[in-house]
Point group: C2
Chain length 408, copies 2
Amino acid sequence: MCAATDLSSSQRTADVVVVGGGLIGLATAWRAARAGLSVTVVAEPVEGSASTVAAGMLTPATEASFGEEALMRFAVLSRDRYPSFVAELEEDSGLAAGYRAEGTLQVAFDSDDMARLGHLGELRERLGLSTERLTGRECRRLEPMLAPSVRGGYLASDDHSVDPRALLEAMRAAAERRGAVGVRDRVRRLVLDGGGRARGVVLDSGNEVSAGQVVLAAGVATPAIAGIPEGVVPPLRPVKGQLLRLRTPGGEDPIVARTVRGLVKGSPVYLVPRGSGEVVLGATQEEQGFDTRLTAGGLWQVLRDAHELVPGVSELEVAETCVGLRPGSPDNEPLLGPTAVPGLHLAAGHFRHGVLLAPATGDAMAEALTTGALPDYARRFAAVRAAGGPPATADGGRTEGGEQDQWM
Amino acid sequence: MCAATDLSSSQRTADVVVVGGGLIGLATAWRAARAGLSVTVVAEPVEGSASTVAAGMLTPATEASFGEEALMRFAVLSRDRYPSFVAELEEDSGLAAGYRAEGTLQVAFDSDDMARLGHLGELRERLGLSTERLTGRECRRLEPMLAPSVRGGYLASDDHSVDPRALLEAMRAAAERRGAVGVRDRVRRLVLDGGGRARGVVLDSGNEVSAGQVVLAAGVATPAIAGIPEGVVPPLRPVKGQLLRLRTPGGEDPIVARTVRGLVKGSPVYLVPRGSGEVVLGATQEEQGFDTRLTAGGLWQVLRDAHELVPGVSELEVAETCVGLRPGSPDNEPLLGPTAVPGLHLAAGHFRHGVLLAPATGDAMAEALTTGALPDYARRFAAVRAAGGPPATADGGRTEGGEQDQWM
């Protein structure tokens, strides 16, 4: 991407301008470019960008919780696309995406935690997610560094992981190789024509990018973009996550061989290994507005729970601490595709699932941008639902709850 | 200090060259310069420099432990010199040293911890250190953010604190104002003349600084200086400390009004407030060689214990994490004054007490450099003791243990 002083003609005019250079914006841009559209991506470095902080778990089986069945079905679909998505991405970009297919082990610290995990077993079966119940001893056979106190767990062989930072680099390269162009700048406002149709965006530099379609994919910053007519984009609440990255001494394998998720006295924690030997520990989930401060309590909570599960983490070096803001929509489900404003699309509100949902989102957005409508599998998440548009029907129909109104 | 490409004549030749730009080196340089000696200080930025990491507690009363009576007497003497030392320093430098005279509250988390603190009460009385025993409620009246579970404690009104980074800046300025000159470089080796007398040092830049007397005050790096005859400087073991600095939101007072030290199930922890609102939390005490890695376990231990004592620390922002190496001598006591090599002095091995002992050390070293002998109050800590020199006698005589031989 180049800084925006003078824009080239391919930067100034495109079929699609995507606002946001995180995983969702780039997945949209890359897949749209592959589908033959000319694309300009406008991105600025954002503090607390969820994409650069995320651990990269692709784990619907160990994430499934009651009340989120439809979202989990979408997540499973997206997870199942990951291998081909990564293969295409690595081919288009020439870069590795850090995909790891070692599976995920979910463990319980005490018998209450084990009961909670078992309870979710029924839900996993209903969703067709295969997991294997293991004793504490079997868990430790897979992951010898687990604490002796671990009571048992579940192995989810199909729950994998990816390195979001590597993924981001690969998507940037792949999008460019497919003809998308980037502009590093902040969007000052959305531009509508006289008929109320989206026509592009004006940047802080004063430059304008004109496009037949505009995709807003700026995470928690999306609703604050100026010029969006009222009621079109629901508020997205920032859900703060604090994480640590731990480094293994020179060239050793990571302390766990696969993603380990745990419940420790009801508190969830995870350890996600990387090929480099690094392990990502996370994460808090705090709802306190646009706050990206690293706090003593956030670090303490993550370290405490990780230490209970895998005491050996104590010996590891702290390579980095990070804080990110997950974009939570009013019903915690993503907002995809056309809005009530002609030419204006959303790809936002992916909350804790942005990495996992990137392939399905990229594909769904590319389809919406080329055909004007979301594919069936994504219709439940239509952006218009939140703005009182016609409710989705058929396979994508909304049957649970009525939370989609609570933000209005 | 200026980088050493071409040295000025006042850098090249001095009465005294001090190797080390930490608190002990600068206290020595400043006090020697005040005593009329010409001084050159050779310093390089060192990873894990104890002086920039130290919390700055001046707390012999709450530090006293059995087996360290003589050291504590020296510490009390040094603490009592602090007010005039700081006054002179601020006058010489024109800078504030961050001295705080709010006292120190030492608290116990449970009744076992309280019993341990009470036990030390007898020792404090023997050392003439006045502390006031308080109930849990009285502790919370002084420090309202203390956990309700705190069982009780002791108020040590004469145990104060200083900001070691401010102190360091002030000492640097004061030494320069008194005519000392600095050279930013690494010492390649000590220079001895044909008669075996110390004559100066050669620097990495190839420059030589000639001086009638050489003071080695480079903390844990001291014994590794090349050219020191065998047996003259004992090994100094690095004792790693990991700390956090927490920031209070904009302009608020620190979360504690005075230094709070606690025992939490036998584990010591402290919170030291600064005028800026910052609080320093520490510290681990780990013996594992020259290791300055910040570890998950180090952070976790400090956060866990601090959180037990003052739960509100959880809300504070992490401003900085630090790792320092305390220089521990074989008997954990400082090594001061002349060595077996004529013209060569030590000011090293201050372990956990470098900040506290800086005034007494600076004065004792200035006396040794001008008169050739340590003052009585410092003779117990004579550097020659460790090299099998004549044992100190009289008030400074060594009566406890025989640990001074264990390094040989």
